[in-house]
């Protein structure tokens, strides 16, 4: 039996309908101890892992990002929310220089990972991408076996030792909460997994290279609620080891999983703060309107 079916559905998060009403407290995620506050106190004092400074980005003549300033603290989850086309994904893809693949892109400003500027001349993009794991909107496992999918990142780095690979695959699959489900069929094609399993496999694949930051581009948008709950639980676990930036369209998800939230609108960061604060007492009127569903 599919273990996913054993999981209870996450409690739906009810957000306030009117502006005058006080927003009810966000329900804690299932599996997360209720006694803990939504944001770990440790998050508040964590050093910054990723710093975006005055980032401007153009697609040809059209500017897509305007003066983005953003700080992601180590071992926290930062969610990027905002209406479609506001530049969340573009920013995310700028963080591991995936936008390099698009010919017409021009970028100004800096992104610092630790002490290194990603956009400084002479940066080894290949090395950089190893430090920034990425999980995509639609699960995209390679048409290879489950084992080879997870081992891919290590293999392209030249790792040949069977034992090392096996160990890394097991750790990553455990880290992604998939080990128990697939340990007996590592040799089978990854395409035979269910949608939720495939997405967790993609997460495991990203974990296998031991990145510092995990970028997630709407990782649950193609998943059913049960699979979504599993991934969210996983994000909660993963932040103990990784710094996570997640783009999401689901306000509930942002509220459930993230410590910090940044609200984007038309290529600008409107507001960024503790998730609790954004969802209960946003400073900006626009943020409040968006969160309460008045636009976007």
């Amino acid at each position: 039996m599919d273990p996913e079916t054993h999981l209870p559905l996450p409690e739906p998060v009810v957000l306030g309908g009117g502006r005058d009403e006080a927003l009810p407290a966000v329900q804690p995620l299932e599996g997360k101890p209720a006694s803990l506050p939504l944001t770990d106190t440790a998050a508040l004092v964590a050093p910054p892992a990723l710093e975006v400074e005055r980032l401007n980005l153009w697609y040809g003549a059209k500017q897509a990002l305007f003066d983005i300033d953003l700080q992601v603290r180590k071992n926290t989850v930062m969610s990027l929310i905002g209406p479609s086309g506001c530049g969340k994904s573009t920013l995310l893809r700028s963080l591991n220089r995936m936008n390099d693949l698009v010919d017409s892109v021009r970028i100004e400003g800096s992104v610092r990972l630790g002490s290194e500027d990603l956009y400084a001349p002479g940066v080894d993009v290949i090395e950089l991408r190893k430090r920034m794991g990425m999980v995509f909107q639609k699960s995209n496992p390679f048409p290879k076996s489950i084992f080879e999918n997870v081992a891919y990142g290590l293999r392209v780095q030249g790792e040949k030792d069977r034992l090392t690979l096996e160990e890394a695959v097991e750790t990553s699959l455990k880290g992604a909460g998939l080990w128990e489900e697939v340990k007996d069929r590592l040799k089978e094609s990854a395409l035979g997994l269910s949608g939720g399993q495939q997405q967790r496999l993609c997460i495991a694949r990203a974990l296998a290279v031991r990145p510092e930051v995990l970028l997630m581009d709407e990782p649950c948008s193609a998943l059913d609620p049960i699979a979504t709950a599993r991934v969210e639980e996983l994000i909660f676990e993963l932040k103990k080891e990784f710094t996570i930036v997640i783009v999401t369209h689901s306000m509930q998800q942002a509220a459930r999983v993230s410590d910090f939230t940044a609200f984007f609108w038309l290529g600008k960061v409107v507001e960024t703060d503790l998730t609790e604060k954004i969802f209960t007492n946003p400073t900006n009127r626009m943020t409040e309107d968006y969160i309460t569903g008045r636009f976007g």
Binding site: N140, P141, P143, G153
Partner: protein, 529 residues
């Protein structure tokens, strides 16, 4: 009102397109059916008819009928065989001259290694001049001894081909080595001694062979035609004896299958109008395989560069246009190029560099299977390039990004993700290329196909694969047998059978590639296409 609705739904177009498809199918079925009937029908044992005419008796198979015309009376065509006695295989007999028509039970079809089939009777069988059987019992006795005679014949043939052949090869090698030494001015005594020794062995083998031949020739049969002419023949020269008018269906089926088997697996005889076409089958398949081995890397590399590395601009667009136009160049032009560049320039240089001792006999400086395959690879490379480009473009972007995001380089991504994903599409290109390549004849005629190749391009003699050898090809075989043969009427069934075989081989090669593609697609989970 109803008519407009009918038009608006496009019903007439559905009918027209459906009808045209049916028409196309009908044409293809007719084509294959016609070829199959004409070719396969020939091998069925037909009854021998004896006609008593005013000009004497005629024995043969009835093969045609012609109504009276202004010049000719009504007449029938008889295949009389006995080419050596009558001068030709076919004969027209005016119906008015026929007095009686019987199917004599004693009439035999005797297939011979030389001079084609014999129709008539077997009168006597002798061994070293002693009569073993005469009269009605002779055919039975001859049939009994046929297997034994054939075994002896095979022994002689294998001796001629393998032992004498390898000795000849060694002698030739020695001669070349001696010439090399002479050219350098070094002593040649050792080589000469070895040569003399080989000559001795050669002599010995010849004597042995002579003895076998004498034994084989000792068994003679006397054949008699319907009008009483006699013909002596060594039993070893007989393939099979069929009392065609008395055998039942099972025997007929077995004769039919034996003839088909002979057609597919035997060497040709009698300037290709009889026997089998095995060397041509082998040559065709091997040529197509060699072509595939060369065309895939060539086309895939070119497409990869065009699609993945080259900056899209005027130059790339020009290259694309050129590639597409290349696909439309008449194949004979490629043949001329192959002859001029591959055979004369490239082959000539190879000979001058590596085989100077053999000159003026060319090794690679003449047409051969290597040059023919290369020419065909060039001819079909545009197909592979276009198909590969499309296949590469259809590998989902998300997979490339996933790979790049994991720290893979562009080349690793291409190698691990793009190429495997594009494999089914590349194979589609290969299938198209093979279908085109297997059917080409014109460029091959200039670059290495021959009417009769003495040995296959792949055999047991080192270095096993002889890329410099000339080869036979089914397509050329059709042309040769049908239009260059001295006896085209007799060769007609061969033309149809060879055509059928060529079709079959193209289909078989395609099915092989299709299965490979399906297997690959299944492994890709069908996600890429």
């Amino acid at each position: 009102m109803k008519a407009t609705a009918w038009l608006r739904r496009g019903s007439p177009f559905v009918w027209v397109s459906g009808g045209l498809l049916a028409f196309a199918l009908l044409m293809i079925t007719t084509l294959v059916g016609y070829i199959a009937i004409k070719g396969l029908g020939f091998y069925w044992p037909k009854p021998l008819v004896e006609l008593t005419t005013t000009t004497g008796p005629v024995l043969g198979e009835v093969t045609g009928h012609e109504a009276a015309t202004a010049e000719d009376p009504e007449r029938i065509q008889i295949r009389t065989a006995n080419r050596d006695i009558l001068g030709q295989d076919f004969r027209w007999v005016p119906v008015s001259e026929i007095q009686a028509r019987t199917t004599p039970p004693e009439a035999l079809v005797i297939e011979r290694l030389e001079n084609g089939t014999f129709f008539g009777s077997l009168w006597r069988i002798t061994q070293d001049g002693k009569v073993l059987a005469e009269g009605p019992g002779a055919p039975e006795e001859a049939r009994r001894r046929l297997a034994e005679a054939k075994a002896l014949q095979r022994r002689i043939q294998s001796m001629e081909k393998d032992e004498v052949g390898s000795l000849n090869q060694k002698l030739e090698d020695l001669r070349l080595r001696r010439r090399k030494l002479e050219a350098k001015g070094e002593p040649t005594a050792q080589a000469e001694a070895a040569e003399a020794d080989l000559h001795n062995r050669f002599q010995h083998l010849q004597e042995e062979l002579e003895a076998f031949r004498a034994q084989s020739n000792g068994l003679q049969v006397t054949l008699r035609t319907v009008d009483g002419q006699e013909k002596e023949l060594s039993l070893a020269g007989v393939i099979r004896i069929i009392p065609v008018n008395t055998i039942g269906l099972p025997r007929k089926v077995s004769v039919y299958l034996a003839r088909l088997w002979e057609f597919v697996w035997d060497d040709p005889r009698e300037s290709n109008t009889e026997g089998g076409v095995f060397p041509a089958i082998f040559g065709t398949v091997m040529m197509v395989m060699l072509m595939s081995i060369m065309v895939v890397p060539l086309g895939v590399m070119a497409a990869l560069y065009l699609r993945e590395y080259a900056k899209d601009g005027l130059a790339v667009r020009l290259v694309r246009v050129a590639v597409n136009n290349l696909a439309g160049v008449p194949s004979i032009v490629f043949g001329v190029f192959g002859l001029g560049f591959f055979v004369y320039t490239l082959g000539g240089s190879i000979d001058a560099l590596f085989f100077p001792e053999k000159l003026p006999t060319p090794t690679f400086g003449t047409g051969g299977i290597l040059w023919a395959s290369l020419t065909l690879a060039l001819l079909t490379v545009p197909v592979v390039i276009v198909a590969t480009e499309e296949a590469i473009a259809s590998v989902p972007r998300s997979l490339r990004e996933a790979s790049l995001a994991l720290g893979a380089t562009k080349w690793q991504t291409i190698r691990q993700v793009v190429l495997p994903g594009a494999m089914p599409g590349i194979l589609t290109g290969l299938i198209l290329a093979m279908a085109r390549g297997a059917g080409e004849v014109a460029p091959l005629m200039l670059t290495g196909v021959v009417k009769l190749a003495p040995s296959l391009p792949l055999d047991a003699q080192a270095p096993f694969l002889h890329l410099d050898r000339k080869f036979m090809h089914l397509g050329f075989h059709i042309y040769d047998v049908g239009f260059q043969s001295p006896n085209s009427e007799a060769a007609k069934p061969m033309v149809f059978m060879t055509t059928l075989l060529l079709l079959g081989i193209v289909v078989a090669l395609n099915i092989f590639a299709l299965r490979l593609r399906r297997k690959l697609r299944a492994r890709m989970g069908g996600s890429t296409f």
